[in-house]
């Protein structure tokens, strides 16, 4: 049914960066009108560079881009937009303080000098109806969920008349029900001959379900081009990583021991002063992974911070090995064997301007092995840091490299290396694999399972439902500050937990 003449053709695109890094090496890509064409690749495969070139942010060193058979050169995103290319960024390029409508009409050539909001509203509404988007045009963007913000970016591109839509990790932030409506909208766009190009690292299966063809990038080269029908999940992951990937992790058989942590009716305020955690009770035993599945902003962040000692609870108690630690300091908790892996790797997890040694030092400075009478023993500290870095496979030029220069995966390895060896009883891991590629994700999950093997209790918080289901012994979907239910791994079905996360099911039934 689809016309065979490509709407977008990329030939021999090569991009080198200073320092001799070849980000893209003679990449070819061919997109037909109305096609859904996924580009897969690990972090560092060159996806971002390719997207930036297609959208005019970067200029290629070699190679040509053709649109409808005509050669084009993009000097800026504006050029790309004028040629009918739209971009949906993963890091949203939206203005949180402005309304949805203002964001959509901003900078549009059609927008009048004195804005006629009524006319613009009607036009955008028509677009929403056509593609099945449901969004309040007068809401401020900061009030929207990550999925709704994505819709705003798509609408902005469509309002500009985009015929080719580049989507950066479109499904990562969506809830299961949002994924479904998103995929439906993508199909609706197909009918209007709008080609969509999702760039994907995580969450392969969802995109897999709708796309027509797939191009796999690895280290700047196209390693495979194939139709969806010929592909399997396992094969795709292998093309991406370049080796066999174990999708099923080996869950160690561990005896579940005594209770380590008991949380009673815990509540807490968010940064904005709103009641975010509304009375949560649960317990974690030795060797147990307790998984909390929920969309960000449902109180799980506050819960993790309260248990780690970073946030004062409003009410409730935290009992750790029989002791009430509700008011204990972070340092006291660390010394008791509680470790915390925060979702914000730079900023909370590590200090970007500090070297790897200094970052590791932050979690051992109080230990008498490394300091006496207030003086630090840098020799011992450096030895320890070297040991940690090799043990946790952090790839870095030296231990004096600044943490900010590490890739996401290496940074997380560093943080794990800081926290896990000092943690003996309870590990709190909040979104430990968010934004990581397959290889790093695998490494992090295996570390968490090793903690379990050592008999530690683990509190795992994640937006990634598959991750929670795969690793946890008990699963608690969290919605608006409350656990919907606490399920055992055996009884937790993906569809049910997904619906609970989205608030569709209440706990009672």
């Amino acid at each position: 049914m689809k016309a065979d003449a490509p709407i977008l053709e990329v030939r021999g695109i090569t991009k080198r960066f200073p320092g001799g890094v070849v980000a893209l090496d003679h990449v070819d890509l061919e997109i037909r009108p109305g096609e859904i064409h996924a580009v897969l690749g690990e972090n560092g495969a060159g996806k971002t560079t390719l997207m930036n070139i297609l959208f005019g942010v970067l200029q290629p060193d070699e190679g040509e881009i053709y649109i409808n058979g005509r050669r084009v050169r993009f000097r800026s995103p504006l050029d790309a937009m004028n040629m009918g290319i739209g971009m949906v960024h993963q890091i949203r390029k939206l203005i949180p303080a402005h309304t949805v409508l203002e964001n959509i009409i901003l900078g549009h050539p059609k927008t009048e000098s004195i804005i006629n909001l009524k006319k613009a509203r009607e036009e955008v509404k028509a677009l929403c109806e056509k593609y099945g988007f449901n969004i309040d045009l007068d809401a401020r963007v900061w009030q929207l969920s990550a999925g709704e913000q994505q819709v705003v970016e798509i609408l902005r591109a469509l309002y500009r008349g985009a015929k080719i839509l580049i989507l950066d990790e479109p499904t990562t932030v969506l809830t299961p029900s949002e994924v479904e409506s998103f995929l439906n909208s993508m199909k609706a766009m197909t009918k209007e001959e709008i080609a969509t190009i999702p760039f994907v690292t995580h969450k392969l299966p969802e995109v897999f379900a709708v796309c027509d063809r797939i191009t796999v990038l690895r280290r700047g080269k196209v390693v495979k081009r194939l139709g969806t029908k010929e592909a399997t999940m396992k094969a795709l992951a292998e093309y991406m990583v370049g080796r066999e990937v174990l999708f099923k992790l080996e869950k160690p058989k561990v005896e579940i021991g005594e209770e380590i942590l008991r949380v009673e009716n815990l509540s807490a305020l968010s940064d904005k002063g709103v009641l975010a955690l509304k009375g949560v009770s649960f317990s974690i035993r030795e060797g147990e992974i307790f998984g909390i599945a929920g969309i960000a902003g449902n109180g799980q962040q506050e819960l993790a911070e309260v248990i780690a000692g970073l946030r004062k609870p409003l009410g409730g108690r935290i009992i750790f090995q029989g002791r009430d630690i509700t008011n204990a300091s972070v340092l006291e908790r660390m010394k008791m064997g509680i470790g915390y892996i925060p979702p914000e790797r730079l900023g909370v997890g590590a200090i970007g301007n500090f070297s790897l040694v200094e970052n590791i030092l932050m979690s051992i400075y109080f230990d008498h092995e490394f300091s006496s009478k207030g003086f630090l023993s840098y020799k011992k500290i450096r030895e320890y840091a070297k040991k940690i870095i090799s043990e946790f496979e952090v790839v870095a030029p030296s231990i004096d490299t600044k943490a900010a220069h590490l890739s996401g995966g290496n940074l997380q390895r560093l943080i794990l290396g800081r926290v896990i060896p000092r943690t003996s009883k309870l590990l709190i891991a909040n979104s430990p694999t968010v934004g990581l590629d397959i290889a790093a994700t695998e490494a992090v999950r295996n570390r968490i399972l090793k903690c379990k093997e050592r008999g530690m209790g683990v509190l795992l918080i994640s937006e990634d439902l598959d991750e929670v289901l795969e690793l946890s012994d008990s699963i608690a979907p969290i919605y608006e500050g409350r656990f919907v239910r606490i399920l055992s791994a055996v009884e937790a079905k993906k569809e049910v937990v997904g619906a609970m996360m989205a608030g569709a099911l209440s706990g009672g039934g």
């Binding site: 995103p77 303080a97 901003l106 900078g107």
Partner: protein, 292 residues
């Protein structure tokens, strides 16, 4: 009483012009802490120009001087990405030294022939100041250009991908802001004081700067704040013109309006009113824009 009101409205005019310019600059994401300096430069150059050419060229020269130093701040903070606070401070310090050296030898009143225009005792610049507030309010809230300016101040990256020329808008807003501060300075030395004395601004620029923040970046609130502060300032200078005969120590009387004003403005900028009136602090204020 009438002369007191007129004088107060003149102070309000000074604050209004400088603050609405700074509001526009800040709405585009550039913070210029050097308004006091821009006002000094505008005051001195305007005064010297008026000695030669008369009152209106005095205003114009003051404005041009302000625009030039606004441009300097723009080059430093937008193109060279100097820390904006440091750049603004630098302009202020430079202005203090330079203006002292340049204009203090002409200390004294304007010659009798150089007189400001008056409409019912008020300077036309008072009305121009009020008009400027309304024009800037209208541009910011009703026009596409205003949406672009606000977007630039909120998130320049988002603005750029929508085809907004971020650098150009920031330059324009910083220069216009500088010009208005320069005009405010010229109005101070030519109309309000009518004489040159050592560093005549005496902190008015800083009050204008504070007004922008107290106004929650809204022109309407800024207008009220500037008039209120105008009266307070004038009252602090000559409380006897209002309170004649009240048996209270002068320092206390002079302090009272300031205390009242600060309390009032703290209340306005409190959480409750921020929620109600929607705090509009530009998210990218003071953050240099570096293209990817």
């Amino acid at each position: 009483m009438w002369p007191f009101i007129i004088r107060s409205l003149e102070v309000a005019t000074i604050l209004l012009l400088a603050a609405i310019g700074e509001l526009l600059t800040q709405r585009s994401g550039i913070i210029n802490v050097g308004i006091e300096g821009l006002m000094l430069l505008g005051a001195a150059s305007g005064f010297l120009a008026a000695l030669i050419w008369g009152i209106v060229p005095g205003y114009v020269v003051g404005m041009i001087m302000g625009a030039l130093f606004g441009l300097l701040h723009a080059v430093l903070s937008i193109t060279l990405r100097v820390n904006q606070v440091v750049s603004g401070m630098g302009i202020w310090l430079f202005a203090m030294g330079f203006v002292t050296y340049w204009a203090d030898r002409y200390s004294g009143p304007l010659p009798p022939g150089v007189v400001s225009l008056r409409i019912y005792g008020l300077s036309p610049l008072f009305f121009i100041g009020i008009a400027a507030v309304f024009i800037i309010w209208f541009i910011l809230s009703k026009t596409h250009l205003g949406l672009k300016i606000r977007s630039t101040g909120e998130n320049p990256f988002a603005a750029e991908v929508s085809g907004v020329k971020v650098i150009r808008i920031r330059y324009a807003c910083t220069i216009i802001g500088g010009a208005l501060s320069g005009l405010a300075g010229a109005f101070l030395s030519l109309t309000y004081l009518g004489t040159w004395s050592h560093l005549p601004t005496k902190g008015l620029g800083w009050i204008a700067f504070a007004l922008v923040m107290f106004s929650l970046w809204r022109p309407q609130i800024l207008l009220g704040g500037a008039i209120l502060f105008g009266f307070v300032w004038q009252f602090a200078i000559s409380p006897e013109s209002v309170y004649a005969g009240i048996p209270a120590p002068l320092p206390i009387l002079r302090m009272l309006p300031f205390i009242v004003t600060i309390v009032l403005l703290v209340i306005i900028s409190s959480e409750r009113f921020r929620r109600k009136w929607w705090l509009a602090k530009p998210e990218a204020l003071g953050v240099p824009y570096i293209k990817e």
